[in-house]
Amino acid sequence: MTVLLAIGTSKGLFLATSGNRVDWQVSAPHFPMTSIYAVGIDQRRGAPRLLAGVDSSHFGPSVATSDDLGETWSEPDHAPVAFPADTDASLVRVWQLTPGPASEPDVVYAGTQPSALFRSDDGGRTFALVRSLWEHPHRPDWGAGFGGQAIHTILPHPADPARVLVAMSTGGVYRTNDGGETWSPGNTGIRAGFFPDPFPEFGQCVHKVARAAGDPTRLYAQNHGGVYRSDDEGSTWSSIADGLPSDFGFPIVTHPAEPSTLWTFPLAADSERFPPDHRCRVFRSTDAGASWSALSAGLPTEPFYPTVLRDAMCADNATPSGVYFGTRSGEVWSSRDEGESWVPVAAHLPDVLSVRAVEL
């Protein structure tokens, strides 16, 4: 087997490969001195396509693609993601690049700051604004979190191209069931502790949502305070935080085949963004959040302070599934046994912003 692990950092994209998910070869940075908040690996075509949201503090944001595993990259002359003139908006950053369903092999979605959804029909080379969401009457009331106001999660339904879920900070979850003609909020049960009404229709600061493989109606969410599951594709949510040391954190990751298995990396609290008890631990549930186990074999045992950001944790599609996370202190860890044990992939990288892994 060969597994490719794409590591987006604040100073470039590193590509790591391994034949056994223990020994890793890590490339020099692609796009040095740019922030890679979004990385995607699209396996719906003959050669996998890498997609990278490349954000230069000087020269602005863009999206680059590679069909040869990073040997060469291409980028169109005109901005691949840009707001139309009548919106009077400009792209700050691409936060998410998500391939569409298998039945639409050329569709790729981009989530951006300011909060907007873009759709590509040419495999991620060029994108167009999804106006129905941009023109949603709630949009003037969507707020900005510390990281800015952005759509950071896009979950196309694996079998029904008309159904897509997005999540934003702040604003919460929105869904379309009609191919993007209309969008409705899906936040019932998700707490927004920073509002006088803690259960508003929308406005939540949902940090990340993941869809269960094999059961597309089941979703898991890591909220800004609160960990939730939905069994009705986002219509209602219930807490699955019992058993975790904290309900705060950023990432939430689902198993590639088992709908009841998921991982998270909690932080102590909004006001204490260190791992609980300063211990480096991944938490896994194999019963859809009814119970949780701490996993730390191979991880650092000394006091541990780094954060794992919302897209800096992922699973691959191998069997058994590999799990990966990167920290803001530039460490990357991998597990080839679904979290039971961990080995280092890299250390001393820039802040890790995003990771994605696939078996090639």
């Binding site: 001195m33 503090s57 000087h58 020269f59 602005g60 005109h78 901005a79 009077d88 400009s90 792209l91």
Partner: protein, 93 residues
């Protein structure tokens, strides 16, 4: 129509086929000059300006040595034969 010269920093020359100097036939404002640059080198232009046509925050442009932001911004008049220098500002960590 008169010619002006646009000087590019090394990091941007790849967007203009490796050239360090562009001779641009345009008259009027800095915006007009950049619009002419965009016609030939659209990817270079979007490194300098966003889709609203605004100069990116950490891009500085000097017209005959004067910072355009201290003049009229993109509306600054560009005299015939001017030298327009593009410089990334000091930023980052």
């Amino acid at each position: 129509m008169t010619a002006v010269t646009v000087l590019l920093p090394g990091v941007l020359r790849g967007e203009a086929a490796g050239q360090s100097h562009l001779t641009i036939n345009a008259a009027g404002s800095l915006r007009t000059v950049l619009d002419a640059v965009a016609a030939s080198w659209p990817r270079l232009d979007r490194r300098l300006r966003d889709e609203r046509g605004e100069l990116r925050r950490y891009i500085n442009i000097y017209i005959d040595g004067d910072d355009c932001r201290r003049a009229g911004g993109l509306d600054t008049p560009v005299p015939a034969g001017a030298e327009i220098q593009v410089l990334p500002s000091v930023a980052g960590g």
